[in-house]
């Protein structure tokens, strides 16, 4: 089977030698592997972009999940930005609020686009729609943002994991934040190598993050991990654009993430048995949601 790249090293080297952005290499590989036309592929990505826009819009209006655990924080954040008192900066907080908006919609069983997963779906669109206000990209550049994110995610999914049950939250929000950082760099005019550096810088700060959802719901702490993932993506991108490099090459960082995931105990891999899920409050919330003495794993019958 023909494949253009299976590592970040190959991806960056292709982009550099052919003098093309990473998004373009991803589009070319998609044409090659799926034998669909370039137009069809770009049109599908634009549809995904539209779904992301709608989810952010919906979340910024305020939603509430069935369990009542999450919802409404995106609205609070927007009100705070409008007050002009933000300390960390309006752009970062805008990204945070839009990431939260997406995940609040996801928790309320609304329609979202997984990037790379549903639990981590806030970070890529959250950063995109915040950076958009500063960089004024064309629609095409916004679509390319998604292809660049996808190119890095593709390497992670095939060489490590993007599943919380297999690799913990580092594999989900960790991957999403690192993918977003790489895409921000490209949109801001950075080089392919700088995208890779941004990816590494962010992923190194996500290593070891466990998946410990309270009551097994994609709500606590997932929504806030998307918030912080968006903030880290922006800071990581800025660091790479400033010329900071990672001492450990990107593919080795991905390999480290994979090995950490494999040695993570199953209680910390989306089983709701450890971490925050196992705290007294986490347990109490679970009992409240599923009824006293009931758990997320009891038999269900029609």
């Amino acid at each position: 089977m023909d494949i253009l790249f299976s590592s970040v090293k190959e991806l960056v080297s292709l982009a550099e030698t052919q003098n093309k952005p990473i998004s373009e290499i991803m589009i070319e590989q998609e044409v090659l592997l799926t034998r669909r036309s370039r137009e069809e592929i770009i049109a599908q990505m634009e549809r995904n972009l539209t779904v992301m826009e709608q989810a952010v819009e919906q979340g910024l209006k305020g939603v509430k999940s069935t369990s009542g655990l999450t919802g409404g924080d995106a609205v609070l954040l927007q009100q705070y930005i409008a007050s002009g008192k933000s300390l960390s900066g309006d752009l970062i907080l805008d990204a945070v609020s839009k990431a939260v908006a997406t995940n609040e919609v996801n928790a309320a069983m609304g329609m979202i686009c997984a990037t790379p997963t549903a639990g981590a779906a806030g970070i890529v669109p959250g950063t995109l729609f915040a950076v958009k206000n500063k960089l004024n990209p064309t629609r095409e550049q916004m679509i390319n943002y998604l292809f660049t994110s996808g190119a890095f995610g593709f390497v992670v999914a095939n060489n490590a994991s993007i599943s919380g049950a297999a690799g913990g939250c580092q594999a989900e929000t960790g991957s999403a934040a690192s993918m977003a950082a790489a895409a921000i760099v490209e949109m801001a005019g950075g080089t392919p190598q700088q995208s890779a550096e941004a990816f590494s810088i962010v992923m190194k700060n996500m290593l070891g993050l466990v998946c410990d959802p309270v009551a097994g719901l994609v709500e606590v702490p997932c929504v806030k991990r998307n918030a912080m993932g968006a903030a880290k993506a922006l800071v990581g991108a800025d660091m790479a654009l400033a010329g900071v490099v990672s001492r450990i090459p990107t593919d080795e960082v991905i390999e480290a993430m994979h090995r950490i995931g494999q040695t993570m105990p199953s209680a910390l891999r989306e089983t709701a048995k450890g971490g925050l899920a196992a705290t007294p409050t986490g347990k109490a919330l679970e009992a409240e949601i599923f009824g006293k003495d009931k758990s997320a794993r009891d038999t269900v019958k029609s």
Partner: protein, 220 residues
């Protein structure tokens, strides 16, 4: 290479909250229904690992039932799948298992009606992507990336050649093929992934071949 498309990373468009536990689960249910070829009357679903521990919170149960009702990952009706199943006359049961499966997100889907029964094991490997690892006791690897033909046949010389001849005569290219059997000389299963969508003619031709007992299909 488990992931082949950028849309497995940026996608699928889906109803939340989890790509592996909701979207991947819906796809497992839908592939099971596709292979069964009709709406089952009953379903018994055994869940393992993370699926067993967190399926209620993730809506894994409504998603699998939604899949069995032929709903796609972004179909809003997933939310009302339990009620819809009752209306469609399908009963179901979810059984969380204690034992560990090879993959943390594993479901064993047993479905049937007055005419027959089918058992499928599906794993959800992340981001909404799934694989079928077992069908009616046959180990296999089916990704759902391509349209696929599943041919149950007697383990005799020449059956594979017969099947591949029919496919070649239709001008179709085989992308991936796997043959497995439980016991020498007994029943065997051929899994053939092809590049193009196939039609009824091909299926009928395959069904009429000697030693072929059943042909199921998976449209892409």
């Amino acid at each position: 290479m488990k992931f082949r498309s950028v849309f497995e990373i940026i996608g699928p468009v889906m109803i939340g909250p989890s790509s592996s536990h909701t979207a991947g689960a819906a796809r497992i249910g839908r592939v099971a229904r596709d292979l069964f070829g009709r709406q089952p009357e009953w379903a018994r679903i055994h869940l393992y690992g993370s699926f067993a521990e967190t399926y209620k919170g993730h809506g894994t149960d409504v998603a699998i039932i939604g899949g069995l009702l032929d709903y796609d990952t972004h179909d809003e009706r997933i939310k009302t799948a339990f009620e819809d199943a009752a209306k469609a006359g399908m009963t179901f049961e979810f059984i969380p298992e204690e034992e560990e499966a090879e993959h943390p997100n594993t479901a064993r889907v047993v479905i049937g009606d007055g005419k027959g029964e089918m058992e499928l094991v599906g794993i959800s490997i992340g981001g909404g992507t799934m694989e079928v690892t077992e069908l009616n006791g046959f180990p296999l690897r089916l990704s759902g990336h391509y349209p696929a033909l599943l041919v149950v046949h007697d383990d005799r010389a020449g059956v594979i050649a017969g099947v591949s001849n029919v496919i070649a005569e239709q001008g179709m290219n085989i992308a991936h093929m796997e043959v497995g059997r439980k016991e020498k000389g007994k029943m065997a299963l051929m899994v053939i992934e092809v590049d193009q969508i196939f039609d009824e003619t091909l299926i009928n031709q395959l069904q009429s071949l000697p030693n072929v007992t059943q042909v199921s299909t998976l449209a892409n």
